[in-house]
């Protein structure tokens, strides 16, 4: 039983064209940058990407998911926010990329539901808006709710500060964001960590992602400072 991979390249080797992938990160914090780079270099296409925002473009340079979108490798994006990614907006206008917009909290809960084996849930979020179109409705305690369904994926790419060989993960500050719930929802969850530590080094009481959710772990090759 070995979850530790020697490189990001090996860790993503079986990600196939057309795969649905959850990408952790919110803005510039907590993105699995090494796994995304490996996916980019592998040339995987037709990806269905689930992430809060379609990466970031800063001073014209694409970061994270935005690198894949610039190369038109993403067929469909499920997220809460366009993040003013002009490549994404342009491809959306021309119909080259499909966009399923989910309110951010609903999206987080749908991802958790996928990981936790919940068949669906009711929320008031967006019930009186255009985003309720096509959704099943139900009045609970006199208030209109919409039914939201789980959002599972073939793979989840997550990034943590520290991890151990069994896949236990610890995040720092706002770099946790979607990572811990996405780790629950990938059929195969691949974690990259800044520090890969010995099995007994993490505090039993303070593990954010228990290793049960993680199938592969790799020490990220490179972390550049962005802010």
């Amino acid at each position: 039983m070995n979850k530790v991979f020697a490189s990001s390249r090996e860790a993503v080797a079986d990600v196939f064209d057309g795969a649905t992938v959850l990408f952790g990160g919110w803005g510039l914090a907590g993105n699995p940058t090494n796994l995304i780079r490996a996916l980019y270099e592998k040339g995987v296409k037709d990806i269905v990407a689930i992430s809060n925002n379609p990466g970031t473009i800063h001073n014209g340079i694409p970061y994270d998911l935005a690198t894949l979108i610039r190369e038109k490798r993403v067929r469909k994006f499920i997220g809460s926010y366009h993040g003013w990614n002009q490549d994404f907006i342009e491809q959306w206008r021309t119909g080259e990329i499909e966009f399923e917009c989910s309110p951010q909290g609903t999206m987080a809960e749908r991802i958790r539901a996928a990981g936790a084996g919940i068949g669906g849930f009711y929320t008031t979020t967006g019930a009186d808006t255009d985003l309720a179109a096509g959704k099943e409705r139900k009045i609970i305690n006199g208030v209109e709710h919409v039914l939201e369904l789980p959002l599972p994926a073939d793979f989840a790419f997550v990034k943590a500060k520290r991890g151990d060989p069994w896949g236990n993960l610890i995040y720092r500050y706002t770099a946790q964001n979607f990572n811990s719930i996405m780790a629950m929802a990938g059929k195969v969850t691949i974690a990259e960590v800044e520090e890969l530590v010995e099995l007994e080094s993490l505090d039993v009481n303070h593990i954010h992602t228990p290793g049960i959710y993680v199938q592969r772990i790799v020490k990220g090759e490179e972390y550049e400072r962005r802010v």
């Binding site: 966009f99 309110p103 951010q104 909290g105 008031t124 967006g126 985003l131 500050y173 706002t174 811990s180």
Partner: protein
């Protein structure tokens, strides 16, 4: 043109911050709403929440203090306050959806006289809802900070929103560069005007009829 002086973004934020009650948890959105967190009046203890997973936002970090794992909205590095905590997106929205947040401050494209809010989509753009719909449904009070009119001078406070709604009847108070307006069952009540502005000038920049508060006063940033 009015002889009055418009509030800057920081001043709008500062005015909104004066409404925060001791002990409140306040969610802030991107841009001007975030600035509210930087102007808490002395003697008030408030905990600021951002949707991506932090409760206890302090000042913006600079230089040595910058931590790339501790970013606010729009890449802004943050410093946490004593008692702060960080958590997952699911937990961040459990707080909002579960009604645990006292107040949220967001921006807007349009606000209607009934307190409807449109702030998630404009024609020709893909939607950018972010956490707005989750927030507006269950927060106890919702404030809007914005410029009173669009760059073209069109009213953003309207009889009926022409843009798709983020939520119906959700806004409690509006803070702009020329006015403070409360949404009440009787209609919009003009409570304060920017220094030098007249109620008529504010009305002229506003589509629905404003009820002038009997206690109408000039916006002051002295608490």
């Amino acid at each position: 043109m009015s002889a009055g002086s418009r509030l800057t973004e920081d001043q709008i934020a500062q005015r909104a911050a004066m409404e925060i009650r001791d002990g409140e948890v306040v969610n802030v959105g991107a841009g001007m709403p975030f600035l509210v967190s930087q102007y808490v009046p002395p003697g008030i203890f408030a905990m600021f929440h951002i949707e991506h997973g932090i409760l206890g936002v302090g000042k913006v970090a600079g230089g040595e203090q910058i931590d790339p794992d501790l970013l606010g909205l729009g890449r802004r590095p943050l410093i946490p306050v004593p008692g702060a905590s960080c958590f997952s997106s699911a937990e961040a929205f459990a707080m909002l959806r579960g009604g645990h947040v006292d107040l949220s401050v967001l921006g807007a494209y349009q606000v209607s006289e009934e307190g409807d809010l449109a702030n998630w989509i404009v024609p020709g753009q893909p939607s950018g809802v972010g956490g707005a719909m989750d927030i507006v449904k269950n927060v106890k009070r919702l404030f809007i900070t914005m410029t009173h009119t669009t760059k073209k001078g069109e009213p953003k406070i309207v009889k009926r929103c022409s843009l798709p709604l983020t939520g119906a009847r959700v806004v409690h108070k509006i803070f702009t560069d020329i006015a403070v307006i409360e949404v009440t069952p009787k209609g919009l009540v003009l409570e304060e005007v920017a220094p030098g502005f007249t109620p008529e000038e504010v009305q002229a920049a506003t589509e629905p009829r404003l009820i002038i508060s009997p206690e109408l006063k000039e916006i002051s940033l002295q608490s």
